[in-house]
Symmetry: C2
Subunit: 439 residues, 2 copies
């Protein structure tokens, strides 16, 4: 354990906390901290009271509609935030590789520093108490400042460990190879994969979701900066217009094929489904993954210009649902269970092949976003779905993805990026993400 966060934020060190300190000596409240004071006692207590305040977290207006910039989610808790949290409107996802010749202490200090900064920015504060403008003017500021004056906007930071963190061609760099979960290995090749290595894998990942893109970008930019000398950004992806919902209060959004996506997703209030399909149980080895999950990311390019020339009836057949209502072609409304016995739903439709009923009851929690990365030389939009799913075992995703090998939709998509990460359980107050791995 290195210096505690309490050292950095309060005059009196708190022996209980283990979050790494900011590298710069604190000077007082940041401007964002002061801003926070105006919002509510919780945030004020956090900024002033430090360790304990951070530990407790603050949930201002959690019941408000998505999009309210005042929404604040806990960083600490039983599980990491950003999984069952109501899906925000914007994503900045980043994959990192550890730098050569880094050691176990470097990795631990990085995770501590990330946790410390994440525990602050998720509350609408700067990355440190001195922040963007509160420090020594003869030093570079701790915080890059583009989120000054912006609120938390529902920011969540979710951190994961890739297979190569445990062991790569350089061996067991961090003394954790023996603790790698058996299922945490590079995903197998799937039919039709056209993966770009520059947009795949990574030792570490950070999923930053917020209802303001500038807040999500600020998070990844500053966490990348904090990683300097220890880890380097490998690839990153912006996304918008969530393509799944995680609470029953959210309307089902549409993907860039124009169809509702995530109708049958696992919802945050379905404790049984979460236990059965998403959270790693305490009884499973390795013990450090208790309360965690596994994240699969797939960058799925959509050939949207080709799709847009498909007859509406054929689009419906491919998906197995009505484009307008989202109802299965076997009848009913969006939330009616599809009936696969009849001819109404094609045997190779997406809804049938992906359905739990056709896959021994396997479900996953989806949390994807649409993306548009400009256009190619042919004048076609470089667009698609940045698919994110959480499951308690990577085998769930692998089984479902194999089932989709004959999906009618495959003619219109191409998987161009892929990654898998172990998402440790929630961070205990005063600790840091993944601390159990190094205990």
């Amino acid at each position: 354990m290195t210096e505690s966060s309490a050292d950095a934020v309060t005059p009196a060190p708190d022996e209980e906390t283990g979050v790494a300190a900011s590298p710069v000596e604190p000077r007082g409240l940041s401007r964002r901290g002061l801003l926070g004071l105006a919002i509510g006692g919780g945030v004020a207590g956090l900024a002033v009271g430090a360790g304990a305040g951070l530990a407790g977290g603050v949930a201002l207006g959690r019941e408000r509609a998505t999009g309210d910039a005042r929404v604040v989610y806990d960083f600490f808790g039983e599980h990491q935030a950003g999984i069952t949290t109501p899906v925000q409107e914007h994503l900045h996802f980043a994959s990192f590789d550890m730098m050569p010749r880094t050691d176990r202490d470097d990795l631990i200090s990085l995770l501590q520093d990330w946790s410390y900064a994440a525990s602050r920015i998720t509350q609408g504060l700067d990355v440190s108490a001195t922040g963007a403008v509160g420090g020594d003017a003869q030093q570079p500021p701790d915080d890059t400042g583009e989120a000054l004056g912006l609120l938390a906007a529902g920011l969540t930071i979710t951190i994961g460990f890739g297979p190569t963190l445990f062991e790569n061609e350089d061996g067991d760099r961090y003394g954790i190879a023996s603790l790698r979960p058996a299922g945490l290995e590079r995903l197998p090749a799937f039919l039709g994969d056209d993966l770009d290595p520059a947009h795949s894998q990574g030792d570490l990942c950070i999923q930053a979701c917020a209802d303001d893109p500038q807040v999500a970008v600020h998070a990844i930019r500053n966490l990348s900066r904090i990683a300097f000398g220890r880890a380097k950004l490998r690839w990153s992806q912006l996304g918008f217009g969530k393509t799944s919902r995680t609470t029953s209060g959210q309307a089902t959004p549409r993907n860039l094929f124009g169809f509702k996506d995530g109708t049958a997703n696992i919802l945050a209030d379905d404790a049984k489904a979460l236990a059965d399909h998403v959270w790693v149980p305490a009884s499973t080895e390795p013990a450090w993954m208790a309360g965690g999950s596994y994240l699969v990311a797939r960058k799925i390019a959509m050939l949207i210009e080709t799709w847009d020339r498909v007859r509406l009836a054929e689009q419906d057949t491919i998906i197995g649902r009505e484009k307008g209502s989202g109802a299965p072609l076997s009848g009913g409304d969006e939330f009616t269970a599809p009936k696969f016995g009849t001819k109404a739903i094609d045997a190779h439709s997406h809804v049938r092949l992906a359905h739990p009923e056709q896959n021994d009851g396997i479900r996953i929690l989806r949390r994807g976003f649409n993306y548009v990365d400009g256009n190619n030389a042919l004048g076609r939009l470089d667009a698609g779905l940045f698919f994110l799913s959480y499951q308690r075992d990577p085998a769930q995703f692998i089984t479902l993805q194999r089932a989709l090998s004959t999906d009618l939709m495959n003619e219109y998509i191409k998987h161009v990026g892929s990654g898998i990460w172990a998402i440790p359980g929630g961070v205990k107050p005063g600790s840091y993400v993944g601390a159990e791995l190094f205990a």
Copy 2:
């Protein structure tokens, strides 16, 4: 003139309208049209009443805070929308080239079809009355559907004509070369330019701004689709977190250097400044540009990792303002006029070199957005400012940009894309954008 929009929307054709019809026969209200009915009489009248309703435009909740998805802006008016309109949160900008062997009729029909679709989608409707799911199921849908269920979200569509539309290496393709405004020519090279031709210029441009990125993307995607066979997407750019404000009610946003940007911008309620600096007066040649403006786009990459290592005091010196408050270094608050006589503000600071007082009173209306396009192989974010400015004469931008040749900020930026377009005046009800050019 081709079929009128009234043909497409109402049972009784309206001889007064000249907006091009949708290529597919209408069947009735789209789902988005029906959705609109639930919102307010204005939109309902629009969806049902057609021609006249479209022509009048609807402004629901224009006084609401930016970000309210119910906000609707007129497409028709004295000036095109999207210039003095309160800057929205998201941008999708697209540059197009006309296809080889297209003729004047193709160009006119494209502008009519774009105007027709724009007049609908800005009101929260599908691109045509049949829309995404209301047409013949044995045909591809008119609308791609990803905005089904979303509201107008303050969408504006602003259309412009590049120098090459008037004449290029193939000559005067559309019989308009003699009507090219004298100032509408490719921008001169500026010191430090590192322009990517694949991200510069274009025969036509569309600026789509909205408070929901999916609405902006839907607009560009569908307008690109409508252009099929006539014009092709050349390049496109997404942006977020506006970096300027255009109304006094908007807080000054921050760019990715963490500084407030646009403090002294021309505001929508400053009629004199707009007349003096933004709108082309009716007395100027060519006459078809009356009420129009000139748009300059510059993609400005920021070396943010380098910037982030600069001392706070030095950052302030480079900009000439305090990072926190935005106040000029000569004292006061954000809105205090800077005093250049003293040593407080460096002679090569950005604020001084760009200030009207140093440039014979020249001002421009800025409307830029931040962008992040992933990262490069070194792990640095590919990020910066997508600068957009409107002025009544391109010479205004050229003068200011030349004045910035010794800007201290130049060490941290690189201009990588550039374009200029003539923005015709507002579209008259029943007409189409740029109609005066072809009169």
